[in-house]
Subunit: 719 residues, 2 copies
Amino acid sequence: MASETAQKLATMSIAADAQTVSHGPCSNMGEWRSQLETVKGLPESYALTKTLVFKPKTPKSQTAVLIVLVALEDTDTPSNLIAKAVNAKDPRMATPDAVQAALGVEPADVSPLSITKENAAAIQVVLDQRLVDSTAKIAVHPSRSDVTVFVAGSEIKSYLENAGVKVTVVEFSLVSVQAASKVEVKKTKPTAKVAVVDSKVEGAELIGVTVKKEVDFSNWYQQVLTKGDMLDYYDISGCYILKPWSYSIWEKVQRWFDDNIKTIGVENCYFPMFVSAKVLEREKDHIEGFAPEVAWVTKAGNTELEEHIAIRPTSETVMYPYYAKWIRSHRDLPLKLNQWNSVVRWEFKHPQPFLRTREFLWQEGHTAHQTRAAAEAEVLTILDWYAGVYSELLAVPTIKGRKTEKEKFAGGLFTTTCEGYIPTTGRGIQGATSHCLGQNFSKMFNIVVENPDWKDGDPEEDKKLLVWQNSWGLSTRVIGVMVMIHGDNKGLVLPPRVAAHQVVIVPCGLTARTTEEERKALLAGVQEIADTLQKAGIRVKADTRETYSPGYKFNDWELKGVPVRIEYGPKDIEKKQVLSVRRDTGVKTPIPLQGLAASLKTLLDTIQADLYQKAKAAYDEHTKIITDWADFVPALNAKNVILIPHCDREDCEDEIKERSKGRNDGDEPEDAKAPSMGAKSLCIPFEQPKGEHALVPGKTKCTQCGLDAKHYTLFGRSY
Amino acid sequence: MASETAQKLATMSIAADAQTVSHGPCSNMGEWRSQLETVKGLPESYALTKTLVFKPKTPKSQTAVLIVLVALEDTDTPSNLIAKAVNAKDPRMATPDAVQAALGVEPADVSPLSITKENAAAIQVVLDQRLVDSTAKIAVHPSRSDVTVFVAGSEIKSYLENAGVKVTVVEFSLVSVQAASKVEVKKTKPTAKVAVVDSKVEGAELIGVTVKKEVDFSNWYQQVLTKGDMLDYYDISGCYILKPWSYSIWEKVQRWFDDNIKTIGVENCYFPMFVSAKVLEREKDHIEGFAPEVAWVTKAGNTELEEHIAIRPTSETVMYPYYAKWIRSHRDLPLKLNQWNSVVRWEFKHPQPFLRTREFLWQEGHTAHQTRAAAEAEVLTILDWYAGVYSELLAVPTIKGRKTEKEKFAGGLFTTTCEGYIPTTGRGIQGATSHCLGQNFSKMFNIVVENPDWKDGDPEEDKKLLVWQNSWGLSTRVIGVMVMIHGDNKGLVLPPRVAAHQVVIVPCGLTARTTEEERKALLAGVQEIADTLQKAGIRVKADTRETYSPGYKFNDWELKGVPVRIEYGPKDIEKKQVLSVRRDTGVKTPIPLQGLAASLKTLLDTIQADLYQKAKAAYDEHTKIITDWADFVPALNAKNVILIPHCDREDCEDEIKERSKGRNDGDEPEDAKAPSMGAKSLCIPFEQPKGEHALVPGKTKCTQCGLDAKHYTLFGRSY
C-alpha cells in the first residue's frame, strides 16, 4: 500500500511534503473522521475533503460527463450551484455503477487521486476555491479509503490539471451569494444555523461544528465563527464581515474602554484615512515596517491621481504633524486624543479572522505630555484598562509586562503589553500594547514647547522641551482571542458581560395534545419572565419562534454561545420555577420564579468568574519556570509558555528562536509533532517570580546562554 | 482709473469675469474691509488678500531681492516660514523706501498687480496655495488701493508667471506643520485661538473671526470652523480633521440616533470598506452615478494588485449579495442592519468642510422586509428620527417630505427627506434621506423568500416573494448645517444638547490687590459650583487657567460657542450669586447660587428652544407660496425657498431650473446679484398648504407651466 501511495505522490511531485496515515477501511466520513482523530502522526492542522460524483441530466443520444466535486468538507455546495457553475442540467448523485464505470472505484473510495489521464475524458471536476486557497494540509485518500495522504490544496489543483481533466474552480461562498437566484430554491425548512441535511448530498451533513477544537483548531475556529454568526467571509481575501453578533461585543468593549479613558481627559476625534506619500514617507524608520503592506489609491473614477495616496496603516505620521502645529505652549499639554477607526495593512500572509485581517477596527490613542513621569503613568493606566477589557469583560487572563528591546514598537522608548495564552495550541498571543514613545517622535516631528521651568542660568539647550508621547491601541483581535479560549465543540461560549443576549428563554413541553389555552398561558409566562428580567437589567431574549422545535433552538443558542438558557414548560408553571442550563458547563439547575432576576444575576456573575478561573488555571498550569535549557523545547512542545531567567540580550532571543524551531537533526530531542515555529519573547512580566525562584542578581544565570540573568522573561510560540 | 483697470485685466485675460468696485482711498485692511462691505455689486462670495513685502538679510555686497507675499488674509503666514520656503535669511517688513524703489508704489498700495515685467527681477513672490485653490473671487487692488477687482486665485498665479517673476507656491498650513521646527519659535504667549499680533507683520492681525457672516459667508464658515476648533485642514484636498470639539457633537448624534434605532430592532455591524470591481460594477444603473468618484486601490506595497479594488462610496453592492445569502426564509425577516462607518467619494468639485468632503462619516441603515407596508412604515420612522436629530439636538428646523421623481435615489422606489434652510444664503440644504428601495434591489440581487401566505390555487408567480428594502443615511453634514444656521460674527453658537461644555465658569475680579486667601476662596467657590452642576448632570467646565485673562477666556469660549458663560467674582460671593451670559443673545442675568443647577437647566432648555424658534421663524418667513411665475425669480433672489403648486412633471422641473438661472438677457428681471444657480425641487412637503391656499385638484394650476397642479412642491437654490 505504501509503495502504491508513494507512486501516486511521485506523480503529483509532492512526495517531500506528504504524510501518509493508514487506517482501516470505513464507509462514511463520520467514521473516517473519528478514526483520523485517533491516529498519530497527523500534521498540526489539516482539513477534511469531500469528493462527490454527480451525473447531470443528459439527452439519451449523448454520453453523460460525470461531475466530480472536490471541496472542503464544510463548504456549502448545493447541487444547483454546481449545475450553474458548469452549466449542467439537474445533477444528481451518480449511481455506484456509473462511478465504477467512469473512475474504476466505489463511490466511497473516490478521491481526487482517483482521477487519472486515463479516465479524465469521462469526467469534469468542480474544485472548491477555498480548498485551493487552504494553507492547511488537505486530507485525501488515494484510490482506497484506508490510506490518507496530506497535501496542499494548490497541489490538488496542479495534479488535476496535469491529469488533463477539465477543472472549474468555484468560489462557492460567492456563487451562493451571487447566483442563488437563477436556481429553483426550496426553502421550507430553517437552514441558517444548523444546516439542513440535503438528502441528495450524502456525507455532506453539516450539523453544528463538524470538527473538534483539539483536533483541527484552525478549521474549528473558522466554523465556530461562521456558524456562531460572528462573521462571514468576504469576496476579498483578508476582509471579513462583522455581523451583529460579534459587532455587539465590540460595542461593549468600546463603551467600557471609552468611558474609562474619558475619565483621564482623553477626547475622541477623527483623522482622515488617507495619507499623502510625502507625509507617510517622512519618517523612514517608522514606516519601513509598514511599507510593504500599505494600500495605495492611484485612481479616482478614470482619473489617474497625480500623487498616489496611502490608506493609513496606523496614524502616527498622519497625526503628529498636526500635534506640532497645535501644541504651541506647555499650556496645550497634555494633549490626549483617541480615535475609533479602521486601518489597512495589506498583508500577504495567510489571513485569519480577527487575528490577521487586511482591514481591522481598533482604537488608537496618541497623547503628548510635558514630563516623562506623566507619560509613563498614563502608559500603565491604559495597559491596566487593556488587561481589564480582557479580564473584566472577556474573562480572559493576561500577563502584563514589558516587551524586550527586540520586540518593542519600532521608534518607541518602551512597549508594555498584556499577553494571552491559547491552551489548545499552547501559543501565546499579544493582547494589546501601550507604548511610551519617549521623545523620539517629538524630535522627528518637532513637537516642541518652551520649558516653563527654565530659569536664567540653566543650560540654553534646556530651554526647548520636546514633548513626551504615548500611543496605544486595542483592536477587534480581542474577540478572536476570546473565541479561541472559551469556545468548545458545541460552538461559541460567550462571557455574560459581553453577550448580546445573556439569557435566552425557550418555551418547552408543547405537544400535539397541548390546548390553545395552555399554549397561550405558557407563552404569556415566558413573556412575563422576559419582561421581569429585562427590567432588572438582564439582556434577555424570549425565543418564541413557532416553527422551530426546542431542540433546534437549544442547538442554535449553544452554537451562538448564550451564557444561560432557561427552559420553561407546563410542569415548570406548576412548580413555579424555571430550568436553567449553563452554556459553559451544561449544568442544569431549577430556579424558583420568586427572585428569579436576582438568582440569574448571581448565576451570570458566577459564569463570568468561572470562565475566567478556568482560563486562568490553564494559563497558570502551562506557564513553566525553566532553568535548564534541556527542558525548554520539550516544555514548549507540551504546549507551555516558559519563564526563564534571561540575560536581556537580543542575540540570545534570536538563539532561543532558532534552537526551539522544530527539527529532527540531532541537537534537540526528536519530536514528530514539533511545529516549525520558534519561540519568541512575549514579555518581561511585571510580576517576577518570588521565593525559591526569585532571581538573584549576579548569581542566577540565563537559561539559554548562561550569562548573568537580568529578568525572568516569558517565551512562547505565538500568534 | 476704470480704463487702467481694464487694461490690467486684459493682460490677465480675465476681463469677462472681473468685477470692479471703486472705493475711497484708505490706509489699512480693516478700513478697507469695512468699506468693501458697504459697497454694492460685490460677487456673492469673495476672499480678501494680504500682500506684504519682506526684505531678507542680505550681505552688503549683494542687492536684496524683496519677497512679496500674496496670501489669503486669514492664512497664517509667519515670516519664519516664508524664510524657509524661499531659503531667505531673517526676512523683515521692507521699508516704504525699499518698496517704492522695487515696485514704484507705497506699501499700502502693493498688490499682485503691482508686479510687472519691468520690476519682476527685483523681487520674488511667495504665493499662498490656498489662494491659488480658492474658488471664491479674490479681492485685489490694482496699483492704487481705491479700486478693487475680483479675480480667480489661479488667475493671479498665471498673471505673476506671465510677468516673469519667480513664484514659490507654499501650502502654509502644511509648511507650518512640517517646518515649524527648523525655525526659532518664540512661544511665550497663548496663540491657539485668538492669534497673537505678530508685530512684524502689519495688517495681518487675526483676532477672532475676521469676516462677517452676511458679507463673506464662505470665508466666515471656514474661519468659524477652524478658529472655533471644530476642524483643521488636511494636506489632502477634500479631507479634514474632525477635532474633539466637533467629533463630540457627532458622538451625541450617534448616541441619540443609535438608541432610537435599537428600539425597533436595528443591529449594528461592519462590512469591509473594500469592494471588488466585479461586485461594485454588477449593478450598472446604481453605480453609474458613483463611478466617476470611486477611489481605486491598485497597489499594495510595491505589488500591483491583479484586480483593482474600490473603496465603498456607499454599501448597497457591498451588502446586498450577503442579504441574498442570509435571507433564506420569511423567518429571517425583517433584517435590519446599520453601520457607522466612513465612505469615500472622490469628488472633483470644490470641497467644503462637512458638506462636501472626499471621506465622510455617516451611518447607513439597510433593511429588508416581507411587506411593503412594513418597509414604508420604517422609512417614515427613520425620517422622523432624522428630523429629530435636527430639531431635538441641533435646534434646526427642517421640512419633511418626499423627493420628486427627478430627485429621488436612483434605483429606489421613493425617497423621503428633511430639508433645511440657510438664511444667510437663502439656500435649501438636504438634511438626510430615508429611501424605500421597493423591490428593485431585491430583484437585482435576488433577495427572495418563499411567500408564507401562498396557497394552492394562487398564481404560481406569487410563490416567490422579493423582499422590500429600505436604505437610509445621515452624515456629519448635520454639523455643517448647524454651524451655518446658528453661528454668528463672534464664532460658533452651539445648542446646549450637543455642546461638549454647556456651561463654562470663569473666575473674575482678581486683581493685583486680591489677597492669596481671597484668590483661593474664589477658586474653591468656582470648583464647588462646577461640582454641583456636574452632579446635576450639566456638562460644565471650570476655566481656571491662570495665565489667561477673563477677557481672553470670554473670547475663547464665545468663539467655541459654549451656550452659557458664568462669571464669578468676589462681589458674586458676597451676593451669593453668579452672573450668567447667554452665548446666543449676549443677555446677562444674575442667578442666585441657591438652586443654581435647576436655574441653569431651565436656562439651557430656553436657549435650546430659542435657537430653534429663531431658525424656525427665519425658515417660515422665507418660505413663500408663489402662484404667479413672475414672482418666482425675484422671491428666489430675495433668499426665499418657494412653495408652488406643481404639475409633478420632470420636464417642468428642468424648465424651472433653467428659467431661474441668473441672467441679464431679457426674459427675467435683471438682477446684478442673482447667482447663476437655478432652483431645483427640494421636496413635496408632507404638510401641504391648507385653507385659502389649499390645492384644488383640476383647478389649481402649476405656477410654471400652467398644467393641472398635483402637489405643492418646495423649490429653492440649494447646496
